[in-house]
Amino acid sequence: MNPNLRWKAIFIAVVVVLCIYGLIGLPDFPTSWATVKSNFGSRIRLGLDLQGGTHLIIQVQVNEAVRQEADQVVLGLARLLRDKNIPSDQPLRVSDTQVKVSNLSQDRVSDFRTIQSENFPAWDISPAPGEPNGYLLTMRQSLVASIIQTTMDKAVETIRRRVDQLGLTEPFVAPYGQGENEIIVEMPGEGDPVRARGVIQTGGQLELRLVQDPVPYPNEAAALQAHSGILPPGTELLPGKGSPSPSGTPTGESWYVVDRTPIVTGRDLRSADPRRSTNRPPYWEVDFHLSTEAAARFGPWTEQNMNRPMATVLDHRVELVATINGRIEDSGMIEGQFSQEEANDLALVLGSGALPASIKYLAESTVGPSLGADSIRHGIQASITSLLVVLIFMVVYYRSSGVNAVVALLLNLVILLAALAYFGAVLTLPGIAGVILTIGMGVDSNVLIFERIREELRGGKAPVSAVDLGFKRAFLTIIDTHVTTVVSAFFLFLFGTGPVKGFAISLTIGLIANLFTSVYVSRLIFDWHLGRAPRQAELSI
């Protein structure tokens, strides 16, 4: 064999072996048909539409986080104005990003500006419309954007931690769309979407607070009445589960007067674990451990408040009220009538930290695994049937040269699948559309080349130069069609979401593979064939 051809052949062989190894050789070296199958199954990941599972699109209410920032500024500003004795009305938040200070003393305006520039540099001061002595502080867009970014990052992180702990295979959590503050959660094969949604939705804000009134109230009005309409300073009313009445049945909703500031929050937790309750089987409870810093705070505090009730508050609801029986250093527990799964879920929500803002479900889709299996079976049957028809036609129509096309097309598929596996791409229905277009263009490349060679042969060229010219000319066309399509795939990848992206990825990979197989590989087979045949032998095309 011509040494030039030999090197090309070796190169192609290496590519093929690598691709096949990438498809069926990992993660376990294939020693049996079963490993080959399981390797292939684990390498080619199917999308939710084919595999079954649930996907959720969640919107994070980022303006809540922005509003919280503004609230912080209101508190800070009020304190500073008081400290510096600057006469004015109480600062007021007038929108998510604006704080108003009315009736500011005229001769202290410069002090006010100093406070702003020293403490709230990311805010702009402007006169409040219609108020001669009123001023507006407006959050700069840069700060708004950075708060939104941080909130989104934290929300994705928190949701990912929670979903990861549900024990599913390869869940996927990522920001979604452009600038809509959305997150997509994909849970392949999850059998219980309701539970998943519950776990994600839970705010997970744990707080321990002192309870002021020893008895809960049946409703809000009763609680207010007990304090003649005004709650003691520094306290607030929170709803909670009814405490069990003597007969054991819960009494419905109860209301508690509790301290406004918690002594311990979710941030102070080091870990949380479910545990079977020792005194109330078969129920479960959640043990938690505090960080060293929080424990140093919590120890003295519990000692001070010995024999007083303490509330475990979860997402602004009182879950449990217990009397402090002794000094608690670094651990505690949440007792409730939890089943094992509920205790597990609560522990994982507590362990993953609180969501930075509340969330809203925008879309949900569940594909039953059997539905997915149906569509994939149909899709594969149809694809194989049509591929076979095409391959048979190529061999019948182009005789020996048709074999080149068959080799090129099959190799194209192998490379495409292997590349998808290497990149960890997920095969979805639109991805299969990309594969179909790839195959279509692969067939077209071969037809273009063969028709061109036939044309050259009709023009009286010898086989060797006909092949040479045919490839050269068809190549120009093929490059143009392929680059145009890759250009459009590039835009689809850049601006498209989910399914459109999947289409673009498999299309781009497929087209590159096609350039390699239908031009490089097919040419090599022709050259090798021509090199073996006598000079003037007819070309089987």
């Binding site: 309701v194 149909h378 990309g434 179909i436 277009l437 143009d480 680059v483 289409f503």
Partner: protein, 412 residues
């Protein structure tokens, strides 16, 4: 083997018929769109609820429709999955359009559908729970087993029963619907457990196979994005072709492709009872854009090559010859691709029906538009600009490596 000899068709003289045909198809499409008040979108674009229900017995679609109407779900659509490939399917898909009930009630539609179905198929055994109901989860089954404790495990029961419940739920999921509680033994659950379950559950007549709920905001956003992304892709192709050929080629190619998309959308409107525009159809439309563009470029490429070889001929003549020369390739490629998607259309199952319909239409229209629309547009512009017979100079860098001496072999 060879099917096609050398054609000698005067394509450009027939351009007026092609334009008339396209005009007719576009008119039909637009009329259909107008009559339906726009395109018929799938749930993913429109917002709403789509619930796939699997029945134990072949369902009576008419009576289901009647019961849905009784629940105030008159606008719902019911589609049977039964077809050639799936003659024994007991599945139907119930669609409910978003009626502005807001994001808060995202799954309200689904809840109402399930409620209506429960009324159509009343519970067989009072005091027992429907085992096929969605609300019977792993946790529910585990809790039930813990309370009954059929294996007499006592306090250590929780873990074991949760594990059994997981097996049972996995089995139910793989089956789609449980028709006999006794079948649960196949999941590996001990007979005592199955007996305990039989005492508390009955196999309900239907199960929810899948549900898709799309809030109106997401739908509108997706629609906007699909249109935008397609326009970006078209603009990208226009620029590339304009650089490689000349700007009018880019414009003509993009107009032709746009024409294909419009005709396909028009036919979707015409057959709106059967096909709706969903995200997968968008993928199909993108596929047909790629395919039609490919076809057009093959012809343009040949025009560019012939243009260098036959400098004296009028452009119309060159275009005719280029189309004729590539005709056998066009017929072969289109024929094979058409065959592929036709097989997909017939065999691909319901999930691929709308998708492959778009491709079947798209490939026919896309092939035809290359010689029927794109090429005449280039020739027409050329005549308009420079009068008959003049030619467009082709940018350099094309057809490299082709010697002038090869010109005589181009058949006339």
């Amino acid at each position: 083997m060879e099917f096609f000899g050398q054609a000698n068709i005067k394509w450009m003289e027939k351009a007026k018929y092609f334009f008339a045909l396209s005009g007719f198809l576009l008119l039909v499409g637009f009329t259909a769109m107008f009559r339906n008040g726009g395109l018929t979108y799938g749930i993913d674009f429109k917002g709403g609820t789509l619930v796939t229900v699997r029945f134990a017995q072949p369902p009576n679609v008419d009576s289901i429709r009647h019961d849905l109407e009784a629940q105030g779900l008159g606008q719902s659509t019911i589609q049977s999955i039964r077809d050639v490939t799936n003659p024994n399917s007991n599945e139907i898909v119930i669609g409910l359009e978003e009626k502005g009930q807001g994001e808060g009630a995202l799954d309200a539609g689904k809840t109402t559908i399930i409620k209506a179905l429960s009324q159509s198929f009343p519970s067989g055994e009072p005091g027992k729970q429907d085992f096929n109901s969605e609300s019977i989860t792993t946790k529910g089954i585990a809790d039930y087993l813990v309370s009954k404790d059929p294996l007499s495990l006592g306090l250590a029961a929780g873990g074991r029963y949760t594990q059994i419940a997981q097996q049972i739920v996995a089995y139910r999921t793989s089956k789609g619907i449980i028709t006999d509680i006794g079948d649960l033994g196949n999941s590996g659950a001990p007979p005592q457990v199955v007996a305990a379950l039989r005492a508390g559950f009955y196999p309900g007549p239907f199960a929810i196979g899948g549900a898709e709920i799309v809030g109106p905001k997401v739908g509108a956003e997706l629609r906007r994005q699909a249109v935008l992304v397609t326009l970006y892709a078209l603009a990208g192709m226009l620029v590339y072709i304009a650089i490689r050929f000349e700007w009018i080629y880019g414009v003509a190619a993009v107009v032709a492709v746009f024409h294909d998309v419009l005709i396909t959308l028009g036919l979707f409107s015409l057959f709106h009872q059967y096909f709706e525009i969903s995200l997968t159809v968008i993928a199909a439309l993108l596929t047909l854009v790629g395919y039609s563009m490919n076809d057009t470029i093959v012809i343009f490429d040949r025009v560019r090559e012939n243009n260098r070889l036959m400098r004296r001929e009028p452009l119309a003549e060159i275009v005719n010859r280029s189309i004729n020369q590539t005709l056998s390739r066009t017929i072969l490629t289109s024929g094979l691709t058409f065959l592929t998607v036709a097989v997909l259309f017939v065999m691909g199952g319901p999930a691929l029906r709308s998708f492959s319909f778009a491709l079947v239409i798209g490939i026919v229209v896309g092939t035809y538009s290359s010689f029927g629309i794109a090429a005449p547009l280039v020739v027409g512009w050329n005549n308009f600009r420079g009068g008959r017979g003049s030619k467009v100079a082709v940018s350099s860098g094309s057809a490299a490596g082709i010697k002038p001496g090869t010109a005589k072999r181009v058949p006339a």
